[in-house]
Amino acid sequence: MKRLKTLCLILLIIFFGSLYQGAVLPFIEGVKYGLTIAKYETETNTKTEEFLMMDVTPKNENFVETTEINSKTGEEVLVRATNISVIANAISKKPIWLIILQSVYSLLMIVILVLGVWIPFLVVKILRSLQHSEVFDRINLQRINRIGFIILAMGIFGSIIQTLNVISAKHFVELAHFNFSFAKVIDFNSIIMGVIILIMNEVLKMAIEMKEEQDLTI
């Protein structure tokens, strides 16, 4: 039980860490980008219609965007952009398939947001039941199963969203020295984690069945 409590504490720290990295930092970054766009719009007197953040790979392997001075050593270092923001303006006629794709994208974002909020509640419920020594409980089995499916769904939906993003970007923008990259579109981490949780859940299910059999052995 002491080890379990330590693991729960570690989980809690990691959870808040990931929340900071995955939600708070992107939010701050988003606000900064929003302000940049607002400034750009005011200066150029235009209205932004699409704002895309994409991973890019240079077309020419030796293409280097800029050089910087390493302030620690004073040496000049080469800097290559791997992530680029694209602000696309004056897209008056969007094709119908793109409008449908973007609607699907928005819908999936809402689904992911709702699913993401649900996970901590399920984890807290499991931890509380563990505190009451209700380890081999079928309700916990159901909760872990849900967490597994949610993480798997988040991985799959996230991958679909990233793919839609790249497709939209390819439609709106073509860069001379960079290609939009499909390399990071599939969220393998979440998919693998979801499947592992589901496998562990099956193991726990077998343990619960064995315990029930043991309990009903007279």
């Binding site: 029930e212 059999e213 009903l216 052995t217 007279i218």
Partner: protein, 68 residues
């Protein structure tokens, strides 16, 4: 389950109550009730042996196989 527990029949024949049998077999009345109502998943040989000894019967008098 195709294994039927006829413990209640044997108990009625021997005119023995659940509490009395549980005391003699040295298992809790709750566990004996699980066995009697057919909810049990398994029975230890040692338990079956003691029940047979107390009720003066054979395992086949308590357990019966009926195909579903």
């Amino acid at each position: 389950m195709p294994i039927i527990v006829n413990l209640d029949v044997m108990m009625a024949r021997r005119k023995i109550s659940l509490n009395e049998l549980s005391e003699k077999v040295d298992i809790t009345p709750a566990n004996l009730s699980i066995l009697k109502t057919g909810k049990a998943k398994a029975i230890r040989f040692s338990t079956l042996e003691t029940i047979c000894k107390v009720l003066d019967c054979q395992p086949a008098d308590i357990l019966e196989y009926r195909s579903e």
